[in-house]
Structures are given as structure tokens and as C-alpha cells.
Symmetry: none
Subunit: 186 residues, 4 copies
DNA sequence: CATGAATGAGATTTCATTCAT
DNA sequence: GATGAATGAAATCTCATTCAT
């Protein structure tokens, strides 16, 4: 792995455990196995590193969701694919997700342009728009729907983490929640 | 106002704006109009102050919700009272709520006993239990229901903040969301 | 006991355990059971307290030695009385003595006039002078003799503390050491 | 000179003049001509610095005494070599010695293992043991003898400092004291 | 006199960042 | 490009001392 990635990896792990300011750059460098100065060759400042890490994670998530959700002929199935892909990524990348949550509630969020943050919601927005036009989804504002969906996903994730279910049980809960959600928005 | 409260007030304001570590204790003292040392007479450490602030806010919210939600004979109405009281408190105490969100995604959360955190959910848990027993609410696990409800509330709050609606429009959205929620869980 | 004495007592105990600067005045007041401000009513500054404590201890030791060493017709016996009285006081007032040692090797010593410090040696000086004139003691400078004697006493005290002998054994060692000392200076 | 040594040097000088707590680390760094932070790169805490300084001085003294006391065939001469070497080091390193005295009467002493402290006495202990076995020295406990000897050396040193004799006079006093000591223990 | 809350100067320590090698 | 020693600004926290009650 390249040094840049080693640094991002180490930073992620430490930030989630100790918080942004509870993690000195020196510890990140140490954990990454590089020299202190190397970190500052790759990222101009610590804030730069934090932002770069956020952008990197968002990108990885988007990519995963895009690649792992087949577009089908049925609207409901396409929507389900998106929902499951998102949840699976979050479940398999708990640390990344906790970082994102921490970042989004922190003042660092303001370092990023709002469009950049919205970008991740683009696929779901477009899909919902189609759903409304097709008369499948209730004619509510798209950003309102996105809010409903994502808050459920985030809440569900927290719930799954707290309860440590078996894989099949987890799947069942995710599936049941989808049904509740579907009923709510259609 | 007492100095202790002045300090809590100043801390709240600054923490939300600059983050826990972006806010030096000296600035808090200054903003509160007390001497630096006074802060440490009232709170042994900065961490203590952060935790005390969280506990204080949770207490104030619980008290408000309790005092502002009448118990009625209709289960649905009682539930609605609780829902509205919660949302109204959050809307009128945006800064407090942002602090709570920041606190809950930070490593500081681990400084508080899990029971302490759950305590805020006790009224709603008891109510839902009764609702299930009365056959009004779907027979789902209570903590699962709590998750569904609170994630919707949090999401809705973010949505309202972002959109800056007029008071009547706000009320309409809150009311409509309640209907969606009610359909989902009954 | 008066407050002043309670403060001196508490200070002594804490200074020996934690050092002068390792002991805050607030802890002294607390240990003494008086208010913080009371300490500063009795002693203008912390340094004043430290010096007063030293002077107090030296006075108590002098008084004890004076009262507990009978003047006899035999020079050797009178000298022995003084030697034993000194050692017994030190042994029974270990904490006081450790304070004195700490004080004497610290920069606080310079806050006291040299005459004040020498005062404690006055009785032994006068006695030795007589001993020399009587031809009993070797005709060496009196302050040289005092140095020999006191360094032996200090060393002996450390030795007794380290070894924790029984009372009779202690007495034997003290007595034997006197004989060595007597041989040395006569 | 390396920065570490510059810091130790500055610390020694200031500690002896102002005491451990009367000397801020910032002054040490300044006196040493290094940045404040550099001090804490070399020594994790101020206490660490104090302990390191003590260990360093003890080591230097041991090394000097070892290197400057020839072993001879005569027991008395060998003993005398040790005695003189010790005294000469002390006299030429007054500041170091005052530091050691201050350290040994302070609560910092407890930060060092007792064996570490005793180590400095090892050569003299072994020599005295031989002397006893050879029937030259009085058959007294070795640690008792060490106490007698070291207390005389310390006392003599204080005496010499106070009186500021010329070099030859100093030598005479040291030599005379050796004779008294020798008489006492043989 | 006694009290103890309030003060603020100052101490130790941390850590993002630089730069000579 | 990589390194890590050096930097010094800034943060948290302590504590002698004051003073209104």
C-alpha cells in the first residue's frame, strides 16, 4: 500500500477512537509507519487530511453502492437494491461510517462545499423523482423523502450495532425495515 | 444568573460553533465573564464541563417534554403529545440539540454510563409498551420502535433547519410526518 | 489546640510528605480544618509559614534539650547528657527532623539570618569551649568539633531509621557511637 | 555540547539556586539555549529530568572516584585514596553535590529504587569488608561504618564551604580529619 | 476574626508544522 | 521524496493570595 493510503487508514482508525483533536498527527504517522514529516508532504495541514479522508470515504461508498445495485425493470426492486447496497456498505464499513457521522456533526463540515456533500444523494434523488413521476411514490418533496430514508438507514445501523444480531437475523431486520419504509412512502 | 450557569451557557455556544477542542477553556471563561480559574473551581476538568453540560441539557429536555405533554385518554393523542413536545423542544433549542448530536458521536460519549443515556427514552418506552399491549402499535421490539421514531425526529429536525419554513408550514410538515410515522408503526 | 498550631501541624506533615511546593496552602488549610483565608490571616505568605515552622521546630528542640540534660560536675557526663537529649529528641520527632533537613538543603534557608541558625548550637559550643580550656577535649576549632559531632548525630539518626532496631538495641548503638565519638575528640 | 547535556547543565545550575519547584522548565530551556519543546523531547516530564540529572551525577562521581583512587598494597592507603578521591570530587563539584543533597532530602528520592541509591556505596562497602576480615578495621556492621564515614565526609564538606580556606589549609583539614576518622574505626 | 469564592499569573505539557540532512 | 529533531504558540490546569460577607 502507498504511504498516502497508509496514512489515511491510520488516521481513520485513530480519529474514530480518539476524536479529531484527541489524535495527534505524530500518532497517525507512527501508526502508519511513516515519518512525522511525510504526513505533511502528503497533506498540507491536519485539516486537509481530515477533509481528504472524508471525501475519500464518501467516494468509496458511492462507488460501492453504484457497483453493487443492479438496475432492474421494477422500480421497487431498483429502489430495494439501492437500499440494501447502502446498508451493506455501512455494516461492512462501520468505522468509516462512524467517521462520517463524527465529521458531519463537527465544525469541519463547513470546510466542504454543500454541493460536495449532496453529491452522495444524487442517485437516490434521481430514482425517487422517477418514482414520483411514475406515480409509485407519494408526491412529496424529494429532499423530504431522502431525509426520511436516510434517517431510517442511520437509525437502523445504530440499532444493528447495538444488538449484535446473527447475520440471518440482521438480514431479516433490514428486510422488515424496508417493508415499513416502503409502506410509508408509497 | 449564577456563574456556573454562565459558564455552561458560554460553553454550549462555543462548543457548537468551534467544536470541543476548537474551544479553549480561556475563551469559555471570557465569554462567560468570569476568571479562568473560576471555571476550574466549578468543573474539575474541561471534560467534566463537557459531560456536565450534556447531562444538564438532557435533563432540561426531559423536564420540558414531561411538563408539556398532557396525558390523555386516547393512546394516539398521548403519543402525539410526546412527539410534538419533543420536536418543539428541539426546534426551540437548536443549539442544545446540535451539542447533543456532537456529543453523541464523539468519544466523550463513553464517559457516560449507558443507563444514563437511555434514561431519556424511558417515558416513550413505557408508552409504546402500553400501546403494544393494547394492540394499537405493531408488536415490534420496543427499542426498535424507539429507533424508528427518534431517527425520524432527528431527520425531520435537520430537514426543518435546512429549509427555514414559516411557522405554519413547519407545523404542517411536523404534523404530516406524524401521520406517516403513525401509519408505519400501527 | 489553637488554629495557628493546627496549621503548623498540618503544614509539617504535608511538607515532609510532598515537599514545600508539592503542598498547596489549600491542602494545609483543609488538613488543619480551617478556612483557606484563615491561613493567610495567621501567616502573611506561604514562605512566612515555612520559615515560622522551621523556627518553631528549632525552638522546641532547643527547649527539650535544655530541659532534659542535667548539668553535672563531670564534663563527660554533661556532654553525654547533651548528646543523648539531642538524639532522643530527634528519634521521637522524626518528622520534625526530616523537615529541618529538607529546609536546610533548600533555598528557603537563605530567608533566615545565619545567626538564627547558629543559635541552636550555642549550648554545645559553650560546653566544648569549656572542655577545651579544661584540657579534656582536643584543642580543635569549636565549629570544627560541632561539625564532627552533628554530622555523626545526623548520620546515626538516618542509620537508626533505616534499621528499625528494638528500643534496647537502639540505645546500645547510640551509646556505642558516643564512645567512638568521645575517643575521637578527646 | 549536545542539547541533552546543555539542558542537564542548565537544570543543575538553576535547581541548586532556586530549588526544583522554584525553577520553571521554561527557564531551564532558555538557560540551555533550546526551545521549550525540546526539553520535553529529551525528557518526558520535569520529574524525569530531575531524576535523570541525579542518576547522571551519581554516575559521574562514581566514575571519578573509581578512576582516581589507585589500589595499593596497604589497606590504609587504599582506603585513604578512596576518601580523598571522594572529597576532591565533592569539593570540585560543589553544585553537583548540593543538588544531590537537595534531591536526597526531597520526596523525589522515592522515585528511585533503593538499590540504585546504594550502588554508589558498593566500592567502599567491599573495601571495608576486607579491612574487617584482615583485622584492621573494628568489627562493626559495614553499613554502620559507611554511615560514620559518609556523615563525616558530608559534614566536612559543609565545613570547608563555610570557611573558604586556602588550598593548602583545606588539604591539611582534610588530612587531619582522615586521621581522626582512622583512629575512630581502627 | 473567620470564611471561601473568585482571581489571574504562571507552570507544565502538547502538538502542528518546518526544514536541514 | 523521506526523515525526525527542533520549534514555540497555545492549551489545560494549579494555586498563592485577596476581599466582600
Amino acid at each position: 500500500m502507498e504511504k498516502t493510503n497508509k496514512i489515511l487508514d491510520a488516521a481513520l482508525k485513530l480519529f474514530v477512537e480518539y476524536g479529531f483533536h484527541g489524535t495527534p498527527t505524530s500518532k497517525i504517522a507512527q501508526e502508519a509507519g511513516v515519518a512525522n514529516g511525510t504526513l505533511f508532504n502528503k497533506f498540507k495541514t491536519k485539516d486537509d487530511l481530515i477533509v481528504a479522508l472524508f471525501v475519500d470515504i464518501e467516494l468509496r461508498m458511492s462507488k460501492f453502492v453504484e457497483e453493487n445495485s443492479k438496475e432492474t425493470t421494477s422500480f421497487k426492486d431498483t429502489f430495494k437494491e439501492l437500499y440494501f447496497a447502502s446498508l451493506y456498505w455501512i455494516i461492512d464499513n462501520k468505522i468509516e461510517f462512524r467517521f462520517v457521522q463524527q465529521f458531519k456533526t463537527s465544525p469541519f463540515l463547513s470546510l466542504i462545499a454543500p454541493e460536495e456533500i449532496e453529491k452522495a444523494h444524487k442517485p437516490i434523488c434521481e430514482l425517487l423523482q422517477k418514482g414520483i413521476e411514475a406515480g409509485v411514490i407519494k408526491p412529496l418533496p424529494v429532499d423530504y423523502l431522502v431525509m426520511l430514508i436516510s434517517s431510517l438507514i442511520y437509525g437502523l445501523n445504530d440499532y444493528l450495532i447495538k444488538n449484535e444480531f446473527s447475520k440471518p437475523k440482521q438480514h431479516a431486520v433490514i428486510s422488515d425495515t424496508f417493508d415499513l419504509l416502503w409502506d410509508m412512502i408509497t
